[in-house]
Amino acid sequence: MKSDLIVLGGGPAGGNAALAAAAAGLSVVLFDEQPAAGGQVWRAPWAGKADPHDSPERREGDALRDALASSPVDLRFGRRVWSVGRAFRVDALGPDGNEWVEAPRLIAATGAHERVVPFPGWTLPGVIGLAAATVLLKSHAARPAGPVVVAGCGPLLAAVAAGILKAGGDVAAVVDLASARDWLVAVPHLASRPSLLAQGLGWTLKIAGRGVPVLFRHAVRRVEGAERAERVVIAPVDETGAFTGGSERSFEIGSLVVGHGLVPGGEVPRLFRAKTRFDRLRGGHVPELDADGRTSIAGLYAAGDGVGIKGAAAAVLNGTLAGLAAARDAGRLSESEWRKRAEPARTAAAGLAPFSDAIAGLMALRAGQVASVPAETVVCRCEDVTRGEIEAAAVAGATEVNQLKHFTRCGMGPCQGRMCGETAAEILARSLGVEREAVGQWTARPPLRPVPLADLLGRFDYSDIPIPKPAPL
C-alpha cells in the first residue's frame, strides 16, 4: 500500500503530526504498537481497566484520540513496527501478521526510553522504573506493592508519588536527587506553563498533605533483599549526584520506584544514519533538525521526546510543525498557507524553550551519579555486564561503544542497549578519560523492537522462499 506520509508513533508528537498533515490534504498512515493514541504521557486506560479518576492528561489524551478518530488518518494501532527502510517502507507486525506501507515521507515520533542509573540491587524484583510506574497507574489502574519509596529525579517523581497515593497506595518516602533550591530555580521557567506548574504544585501538596517525607539531595545507595526488594538504603548526595559520605537511612519496602530521566530513542534517524550530535541536556545523541523537524535525510522528519527530551507540550508543537513541513514539501501547502499554520506553533515552541530546558535539566544525567556505580554492579542487565567489566574492556583497548559491545556483550541482549547504553557509554568515556562524544554512538539496526520469528514467518510453503542462486562451487 502507498500513501503520502507515514507517521511512526501516536503520542503527542506523532498524533499531532498526523493531524496537521492530514488537514493539509496528505494521505497519512499512523502506526503505533499501543491499542490507542496518547503515547506515554496521555496513555489510554486498557479496556476493562478504566481508571475512575479524571485527570488533565486523560482529557488531553481523549481529545487527541477523538480528533484522530474523526480525521481521515489511516490508524494502525496494535502494530509493532520492526523494519523501516529507505524510500520509505515501514513493516509492522499486527493482528494479521506482517503488513507494510510505502510513502515518500516519514515522520519518526517514537518517544523516549527510561534511564535508571544502576545501584546494587536494582535488578531485584520489586524495583520498578519511575516512568514505567506511570504505565501501571494509567493503563492498568494498578499500583506498586507498598510501602513504596519513590526515588530519582525530575517531575515524574511527584506525579508518581501523588498517583500512588490517589490510587490508595502507601508511599514511605520521596527521594529526590535535586535540592529544594534546584526546584525553586526551575519554578520561574516552569511558570511559563502555569497549568503544568499548578499540576506539579497539586502533586506536591498531595504528598505534603499525607505527611510523606521528601528527602532532597538524596539517592538510593542500595536495595537489599534475598529474593526481592525488601529494604532500600538511601544517603545524601552532592549536586553531581555523588554520595557525600553523610549518614544512611533505610526504609522497609514493598517496592522501589526509581528513574533518572529519559533517553531519546532516536532509533529511526540513527537507522538512516541521519546526522546527529551529542546533547547532554536533551538526554544523549539527537538528530540535527531544522526548525520544522527535517533531518539530514530527504523526506525524513522527526519530532517529540524521541529526538531530544523536551516534554509533552513541546512534542505537540514540534509534531505539528513536522506534519506541516511534510505537507509543504509535498507541495500541498502554499508558502503563505504553510506560514499561517506554522507561525503560531513556531512562536509557541520558542516560548516553551525555558520550560523545556528546565524540565530536561532536572532529568539530565549527573556525572557523580555514574561515578558512584560500584565496580561489581551490573550495568547491562540483559547480559550481566558489570561496571568493572566495562572498565576492563577500556583497559583491553576498547575506545568506542560498538567495540565495547564486542569485547563484553554489553548491549547485545533483547533491549539492545536501550536501557544501559547511555550509562555504559558514560562509564567507558570516564575510564578512558575522554568526553562522552569521543566514544561514539550505538549503531542502530532492525528490528526496532524484538519480534517473535514465528510472527515474522507468516504462512508459507517451502517453494515460496525466494532462495537466491547457489554460491559458486
Binding site: Q403, R445, P450, L453, P468
Partner: protein
Amino acid sequence: MTRVHDLAVVGGGVHGATAALFCARGGMDVALLDRGPLCREASGVNAGTLTMQMTRVALIPYALRAHAMWASASEWLGHDVGVVVCDGLSLAFTEQEAEILTYRAGKRREAGAPIRIVDGREAKRIEPGLSDEVLIAGHCEVDGYANAYLTGLAYRRALIEAGVALHENRAVEGVDQGDGGFTLRTAQGPLRARRILLAGGVWIEPMLAWLGVDLPIKTLINQLAVTERVAPVMQTVIGVASGLLSLKQYPHGTVVIGGGWQAVGDRERGGVELLPERLVGNVRLACHAVPALGHARLARAWAGLEAETRDALPAAGPVPGVNEAYVCGSVHSGYTSGPYIARLLADRILGREPDLPLFPIDRLLAPDPSEGTAP
C-alpha cells in the same frame, strides 16, 4: 621518526592480523594499521561458521588446515574466540536440492573434506532439532563455529604480545614508493616500511590502486540475524544444499541466522540497510530447517561486506611489478580459511617456502579469459 618497519600491514581483519602476527613471530618489526578498531568489518561481524560444506572445492585443502588452526586457537593465538567444534549438516528438502547436494558433497569429498551423505532419519539422529522435511543431508564432522565478535579482542592481545606496532583508528590514505621501501600516508603522519601487505577486505581494490594496480573486487553485502537467548533448540551447524543458510546456536543461547542473503550497501557506505523480505526469507528457511526456532525473538539483524574476485578465488600473493608489496584477501568463506592462507603468505614474506601454493593475482590482471574457464 625515521623508524622503518620491516613490514607494514594495512587492514586489521583476520587476514592482515594473522599475517602481522606470524611475521612478527618470525622476527620482523611489523606495524599494523587499520582505519577503525581491529576486526570490526567482515572479520568481526561474520557468522563465524567454520565449515567445509560452504567452502569452494579449490579451497578445501586450505580450509581443513585452517579448521585445525581454529580448533587449536588457544595454542597459537593464545586468546579465546569461542571456537566450538561440532557436526555439520547440509540439508536437502527437495529432489532437486538432493541432486545438487550429492554432486557438491562428492566434489568436496574428492578434495579431501570428510563429507558423507545421510538420509533424513540419520540426519535427525545427529540433529534432533531438525524438521521432518529433510530428504538427505551432507554430514561432516569437521565443522563448527567461532564467536566472530571476539576476534578483535583476541588478536589485539596476541599482536601486542608479539610486539606488533598496532595503529588502530589510523586510516592509510595512500602509499609512496621510493628509497627501497614505502611511505604510508596517514592523517597522523607518515609511516615507513620496507614491505607492505594490503589486507583491506573489500577495500583491497582502492588499496591496490595506490600502487597503480587495477584489480576489480566485487562487494557482497551479507545479511545476518541473531535471536535472543533461548533454551537449546539445536546442537550442530546447519546449512542447505545451495549454501544459502547458515545456522547455529551459541553456548549462551543465541541463534545466528545467515547464509549470504544480500542487503543494501556498498564499499563507500558499508551495509546500510536490510530488506525486510530478505530477512523474512532467511528466517523462513531457518525455521523450515529447525521449527523450534519459531519461538525465539529476533533481537538484531545487520549487514557486513565480503570481497569477491572475478573467479571467486583468493587474492593472496605478491603484487606484480611492485617489489616487496603483497596482497591478501577475497577468500571465499574467508573467516574459516583466512588464518591459514594469511599464514602461508607470512611464510612467503619471511622468505620461506609456503606448504601450499598461494593465489597470485596475475591471473586476475590479465583480460578476462572468456566465460567459464575459471581454475
